[in-house]
């Protein structure tokens, strides 16, 4: 899933200073799972904002809605009927949802309520960590199923570097060294000799470096 964390309340308030009718829009997908922008967080944030503006003596109308997804036309369309009654939208979806909202409701100011961080997993409730950077050419077959692109601090395709210490990365004693895990897995799989195969220079054009990406599948396109 896409992992995000809520922006500090002060920053959100700053974004919304000039508006008196605001719709806070949550999303039922990834940001619900990582507890940053689901129905519950939307409700809590909306009441914090109401409280704040009330204390400031400002008359600001704050409504809330949580859509199934903000990255699909279908669900975003659900608010078309009401969008005219708001001056601004605060979206608690990831950056994808915020943008799709902005593209669809072109004349309405849309603000992000979360910082979108990475694609990752829930290690345990309250702990999420990165697993993939969508490089567009997955090399997990060569690295025992562990991704050095997203999980090695230096993206080394032929790691580990000389800073790997007791299973941890040189940049942070709390961070696992991806290459230690790769080697442990290779060992477990009885494939340690694979370690000595040189990983070739990567084609990064399928990654961010190649410019914004798009997939078009004619076979299913309508």
């Amino acid at each position: 899933m896409i992992v995000a964390k809520q922006k500090p309340l002060e920053e959100i308030i700053e974004e919304l200073q000039d508006y008196t009718k605001i719709l806070v829009a949550g999303c039922n997908e990834c940001v619900t799972v990582c507890e940053a922008g689901g129905k519950k967080e939307t409700a809590i944030l909306a009441s914090s904002l109401r409280m704040y503006f009330l204390n400031q003596g400002k008359d600001v109308k704050i409504d809330e809605v949580t859509l199934e997804r903000q990255c699909d036309h279908e669900y975003l369309e659900e608010i078309r009927k009401v969008i005219g009654s708001y001056e601004a939208i605060l979206s608690l979806a990831c950056g994808v949802g915020v943008q799709f909202m902005a593209e669809k409701y072109f004349s309405v100011p849309v603000f992000p309520g979360v910082d979108t961080c990475f694609m990752g997993v829930t290690e345990e409730r309250g702990v999420w960590s990165e697993r993939c950077q969508g490089c567009g050419q997955c090399i997990l077959a060569r690295t025992a199923g562990i991704c050095p692109v997203s999980r090695c601090a230096k993206r080394l395709l032929n790691g580990p570097c000389g800073g790997s210490t007791k299973g941890k990365c040189e940049i942070d004693k709390e961070l696992d060294c991806a290459w230690q895990i790769i080697i442990d897995r290779l060992k477990e799989l009885g494939k340690l000799e694979q370690y000595e195969q040189l990983s070739p220079i990567k084609d990064w054009s399928t990654e961010r470096a190649g410019g914004p990406r798009k997939i078009t599948r004619e076979d299913i396109r309508q």
Partner: protein
């Protein structure tokens, strides 16, 4: 004797079977060329080649290539260190050609410390290539005379290609396979991380010898004289991938503060003397960090002076 492939003086010395001695100079945090020139003057008669570090520990400094050019102008033999942290493949190839245009004949290919450690922790990193792929790139440019893109290079670089190895990082079991991988990528000489744990280094060497790797690459054992007990502790606790055994810390702490520099030099010289006899050690890389003036003494007392004359 192997065939000499480049005009590198370091390669010639190693090829002739001499124990080579290299040292390193860190460029200044400013544009005064005299810093690099003066450091080089301190060591020049006692070493065969001088590494110039490339924004080491990610702290911004005068660039490695310009510093190497200063050494060339003094008639000295630089080893250009190049990290992949700060350059994509366009800049890497371009910088290699720039260095080659000044006949800088040695390169040490490394990935570089993460920028988190330096003065710009909020910056981007590049890592378009890693250190192994940088080794491959230089060898390809040199041996095939081609750019990575496939076009021919007019006057290809003629560089003796080196890599770093850290026998002390984890996991230990892949440290020799990793060396083998660097050799397979095209590394011709190795400079190791500073050795304080001599036993562990010897074990690494033995495992390398078991695979015949010492015959495929010249291994220069890295040493750094400790200036104080504090430095020993700092390196043990704070520098990732550094192995300073308790007995070394104890030995440094066991002498009064004003005698500690002397003790550090003594340990360094002893390490070299012990490793001179180790099969497969082809030379020494003396990294006297901001203590370059002590390099002549270390070289002399280790019995590595005078240096061979080779043209």
């Amino acid at each position: 004797m192997k065939e000499v492939k480049t005009p590198s003086k370091l390669e010639k010395i190693l090829n002739a079977g001499h124990l080579a001695v290299t040292s390193e100079c860190g460029p200044p945090r400013g544009s005064d060329p005299n810093v690099i020139i003066n450091k080089a003057k301190m060591v020049k008669d006692h070493v065969d080649a001088i590494n110039i570090t490339d924004n080491q520990t990610s702290v911004t400094r005068l660039c490695s290539i310009a510093s190497c050019i200063h050494l060339k102008l003094m008639g000295l033999e630089p080893v250009l260190q190049m990290v992949t942290r700060d350059r994509n493949r366009i800049a890497i190839q371009s910088d290699i050609l720039g260095a080659a245009s000044f006949d800088i004949n040695n390169i040490l290919c490394i990935s570089g410390d993460h920028q988190k450690f330096g003065d710009n922790p909020k910056g981007q990193n590049v890592f378009d290539l890693d250190s192994m792929q940088l080794i491959q790139t230089v060898r390809y440019m040199r041996d095939e005379g081609k750019f990575l893109g496939g076009d021919d290079i007019d006057r290809p670089p003629r560089m003796f290609v080196g890599a770093a190895a850290n026998p002390f990082a984890d996991p230990f079991e892949i440290r020799v396979p990793r060396l083998a991988k660097k050799i397979a990528a095209g590394a011709e000489f190795i400079q190791t991380q500073c050795i304080y744990n001599v036993e562990k280094f010897k074990l690494w060497m033995k495992l390398a010898r078991d695979r015949g790797l010492h015959k495929k690459v010249y291994i220069l054992a890295g040493v750094t004289p400790l200036k104080s007990a504090g430095m020993a502790k700092y390196m043990r606790n704070r520098v990732p991938g550094m192995d300073v055994p308790e007995q070394v810390v104890k030995r440094m702490s066991g002498v009064p503060k004003d005698k500690q520099p002397e003790e550090g030099l003594e340990i360094c010289i002893e390490t070299i003397q012990q490793l001179k006899e180790e099969e497969g050690v082809a030379g020494f890389h003396i990294m006297a960090i901001e203590w370059e003036e002590k390099v002549p003494e270390i070289v002399e007392k280790s019995g590595l002076y005078p240096r061979p004359r080779i043209n």
